[in-house]
Structure formats: C-alpha cells, structure tokens
C-alpha cells in the first residue's frame, strides 16, 4: 500500500528514465541518460585540440616534448561532449562605472612575500640546491616521525615503497598507498608543497636548500633519481614521473 501523494513537477528527463532501478538505461560512464541536453567540457579549459585518441595523443606529446622542454597540456579524459562554457566573460554591466576605484595597487614586495608557488614547468623555483644525503639527514629529524622509515608511511601518508612505480593497484585495492613514485605526476609539486606546508609542526620554516634536499631524498627513495643527483631549479622539472601520463582532465559531460 503505497501513498503516492505528491504532484510531479514538470520533468525535463528523457523518456527512457522511469520505473525500476535496473531498467534505467543511463550511461554507466556519466550516470546520465543518453542524449542529455547541453554540454560543456572541462577540456575546453585545458585548451586541447586532440580528440578521441588520448593514448595516441599522449604518445605524440612524449615525442614532441622532451621532459622539461615546455609543459604539454593535460589530456582530457573524454572529448566527445559538445562544448559549452561553464561561464562566459560578462562584457556589459549596466550602471556600473568603468572601475570602482576600490583597492590599492599591490606592490612588488607585497606580492613577492606571498607568491611562492612553483608550477609544473619549474617556474617559481628559487635558487639553491639539494642532495640525497643531505635530505636523508633532514628527513630523519623532521619527517620520519610522521611518514615512517624510508617514507613507508604511518602514522601519516606513505611517500615511497609499496610496489614499483609502474604498479597501479588502485582500482582493486582499497586505500592502496599513493606514493610519489606511483602517483605524483610532477616533481615540482613536491618542492611546492614541502616549501609551503611542511614540516607539519613548523610549516614554511625550511630554507630553499633544505627543501631541495628533502625533495631529492624522496625522489631517490622512489628510485626516480640516482643517489648522486644534485637537485636544482634547472633539473627538478625534468625528472620523469611515472604516473604523469595517467592524468587526464575530468571529461565527463558537464551539463549546465
């Protein structure tokens, strides 16, 4: 005895949706009924042109761009959606002045004090250098209590080990460790994150040389650089990260 006591608002749902759960013919990929209404696509924002063959495109990128020699754009997961913007730049503001004149010019000094980010092509890396051996000592005193011996993890994130860098246990193994070797796509991100947020008890306290050294040690633990490597602004962005080409921009059809 069901009480179906409500009025149904006008649906804009395609007709194949109704009835039993198992009868729904939705797209397993997007969880939307097929033939949705309007699409936009995050790949638009990624400035991509290569369509339909992401793996082939990845191969082409590898051929065209040697590591560190410019940063290839991120692949899109799926380029089959029609393209429509999430938002478009407004160019008409009724009754608004050309400028409100609120706020003041930020000085170069003010910007530099906060602008520490390092991007994937290595922009923003400071001068300095670091070694694996130096990083090993720093790791022991500053990092190991959280990240374990040799970066094995516990009580917090594992940074190394847990299978070789080519392994991909994630779909089948719940909570498989996402290490620098098997998951992180850019070595520059390590520097950026350690520099701004670590060590946990005293974030932002390390010198550039110290950050280079800890980064070097972690890359070494993941067998991504030889032990004798001296890490600098010149070579950090060139390090080959095994998971790099796995990353794709969300390509599920975004619908407004």
């Amino acid at each position: 005895m069901q009480f179906i006591g409500t009025t149904l608002p006008q649906m804009i749902i395609p007709g194949e949706y109704s009835g039993r759960l198992n009868d729904i013919k939705y797209d397993l990929y997007s969880f939307r009924p097929r033939n949705p209404i309007v699409h936009s696509n995050i790949s638009r924002m990624m400035k991509l042109n290569n369509e339909n063959y992401p793996y082939l495109s990845a191969v082409i990128f590898i051929i065209l761009f040697s590591a560190g020699d410019g940063l290839p754009a991120l692949e899109s997961e799926n380029s089959s959606c029609d393209e429509a913007a999430i938002g478009t730049r407004p160019d008409y503001y009724p009754d608004w002045p050309a400028l409100f004149g609120i706020g003041t010019i930020a000085t170069r000094e003010e910007i530099n004090a906060w602008d520490k980010d390092v991007t994937a092509d290595g922009s923003g890396l400071p001068d300095g250098k670091g070694t694996v051996s130096g990083g090993s000592k720093l790791y022991g005193s500053l990092c190991q209590s959280c990240h374990g011996e040799n970066g094995q993890g516990k009580p917090f994130d594992a940074l190394a080990g847990h299978g070789d860098a080519q392994s991909y246990p994630f779909p089948d193994e719940k909570f498989a460790a996402k290490t620098i070797g098997n998951y992180w796509p850019y070595a520059t991100t390590l520097f950026d994150y350690i520099n701004r947020s670590m060590p946990f008890a005293s974030p932002g306290s390390l010198s550039s040389d110290e950050v280079y050294s800890i980064t070097a040690y972690l890359l070494y633990l993941n067998r991504l650089i030889p032990e004798e490597t001296v890490l600098t602004a010149e070579n950090l962005a060139t390090i080959d990260m095994p998971a790099r080409n796995r990353f794709v921009a969300d390509g599920r059809c975004k619908i407004k």
């Binding site: 069901q2 009480f3 759960l21 706020g103 991007t119 994630f170 996402k178 947020s197």
Partner: protein
Amino acid sequence: MSNSKNPESLTDRSDAMISRRRFLSGTATGAAGVAVLHKTVADITIDPTKQQGAPPAALGERSPFEKPARKVISNILSTTPLQDLHGTITPADLHFERHHGGIPLIDPDKYKLIIHGMVERPLKFSLDELKRFPAITRSCFIECSGNTGEYFRADRKNTPQTLRGLTSQSEWTGVKLSTLFREAGISSRASWFLAEGNDAAVMTRSIPVEKAWDDALVAYAQNGEPLRPAQGYPVRLLLPGWEGNTSIKWLRRLELGEQPFMTREETSKYSEPLPDGRIRQFSFEMEANSVITSPAYPEKIEPGWLEVRGLAWSGSGKIVKVEVSTDAGQNWSVAELQEPVLAKSHTRFRYLWNWQGKPAVIMSRAVDQTGYIQPTHEALRDERGLGAPYHLNSIVGWEVRADGLVYFDVKSWA
C-alpha cells in the same frame, strides 16, 4: 511522527538524541550550562505559567533540551548532524569542518586579499574594501568530495551524519569574483587562477577562470553574520556546487595564469584513479546526491503513517526529482520537493509512507536538471573501482526491521 529511539544506540555516546535522553534523566554533564538561562533541570517540573521566565540576553542559546552536535572524526574533520536538522540551512556552528592545517585566527583589520599575475592592475583589498563592492547573497551547499569516502565504515549503526555529514548549507554573502577580476583587469589569455589560503597548509587549488564568470563568490558572511572561523573568517572563496576543498578558506591570494598550477591537492589528493589506468583530475562538480534523514538509525518507528524525510542536492544545478523506494529499489515513487528549489542547494524532500510493520529497505535517489541520476553503489564501483575515496554519491538504504528498528543497509554497499 511518534518515533522512539533504538535502544542499541545507547552505546553511541556521540548521538545527540541520546544526550537528550540522558539530560532528561538528569545525568547529562551539560546541565551546568542551563544556569545561563536561569533555569535548572529541576525547574522543568515547575509550571512555567506560575513563575517569571528568563530575561533577555545579548546572545541567544539553544534550548537546554536540544544538543545537536558535530561529530569530530579527527583533527581535520567534523560532520554535520543531518538527522537533527529541518529545512535546508545548516546552523553555522554545525557546519561540517575540513581543514588541512587547523583553523587560523586572523585579525580582520590586518586582512588583505591580493590579486596578481595576468592582470593589468595587481590589486590588494582590505576587508572593508571588499564589502564596498556590489554584493550578492545566495544559498548553496558546500560538500567535501570525501563525503562517504575514506571515513566510511561498513557498519549498520551508521547515521545520516556519519554517512553524508560532510555537506552543509548556508546563505552566503560576498562580492562576485568576476567583479574583482574586472577591477583588476585580468588578461583575456588568463584561463586559470590559483587560490591560496592564509592557514598553516597555505592551501592552494587551481580554478578555471570560467568559474569566476559563472558564479564564484568571495564571501565574507554566512547566514547573516561574518563567517565562522572554521568556515574561513574573514574571507573565503565560494565555488557553488564544486568539491568543498576548492572553496579556499582564509583566502589571501589569487594569481591569474594560463595553466593549472598542479598543486599537491589537485594531483596527489583530490583525483580519482580509474579502472582503465587513467587518473581523473579536476573533477570539480559534486554529483547529484540524496539521503533519507528520517527514519534512519537510531530511530525506532511504529506501524502506520509516517513521513520519510531527507535531503537531495546537486552541484550541477537544481534537483528536479527525488524518488523513494520502500522495497529496496524495486519500485520507486516520487517524493514531494519543498519549494523553493534552488540550484546547487540542499533540497528537502518528503514522502508519506504507511508502514505495515513488515521488514523493508527504504532508499532515495535524486535526479538533477541535467538528467543525472544518482547511481547505485554497485554502478559507481563498476565505473570507479575502489581507488578513489571521492565523489561517492551512491544511493543510501535504510533497513527497517519488523520490530521497527532502523539500521543502515550495509549489504547494499557490500
């Protein structure tokens, strides 16, 4: 409804309803706080028409009988007690918390926001200056993309709070990000910006500029008052419908660029390894989702008419339909949606049910304006595998036993 409480829940000391029971039986440790209202537990035996009540006070307080509480999961996480709330707004002190370096204390007089990078005029704004710009107010939810994620445990004693408590809704006020970008004169070539927080994590995310042209807000007020510290006081970014971590709290810097910055949060953390070997990145939108908040564990229901109640929401726009099943997903009936239904907002749904006292599994599924249908756990697992503790929005079932006890339907998530 004449629902009583499931006796097994007495072992769950964090359950707010049980606090109430203990309070009524005179064993609540919180009783001392009642004195503020010039009433004691003993006073409730006195006829309120026979004595003067409490005087006014500078700050209001909840009834001493009501003790809704966040559930603190860890040093970085607390959840909203969805089962204790009505309507769609989350009281600010019950908004879920997720932070990456603790909650900073920021002096509003020293606050500044800097916009720089690919702009004609690098600008800094004080809090007062931000408030001088044209303001807008809107409601929307914020949901952690880890809702029902790695903190989920397959336990029949899950509550709406433990299953879906990482979503909360507020009415936010601030200046549109597009207004600030216009003031700074951002380059037509700028396609991404970095948003940076002023906390110990110096939390950063890369955001497509198009989100600013759509509906991004630089918010300084929540439910009519300044932001709570845990929600980013004095200023946060607010990206309606997008995974919560992108709405950077304690916002201090926006840098315009041509590429995503590839921060730790958007590479090693908030990404989803897929079964085909690829890893999905920048999965910003939160998918349509819903949960029945009553009846749910630890309630006990009686045979007869009752109203099944819950919340539905979608980061893609409005909820257009919620369906309720009382037979484990075999048949579905349309629930009533409480108007007004707002885009990217919690939507209250209700469904009248005449429970006959037989075992049942009740569940809800949401459909949003894009046609997206909330999937089953099985369908979601097939698409994603086990590797991503994010964007897990599958249908939640509650098992109603013949004796009226209600439990989370663990087997539907096996």
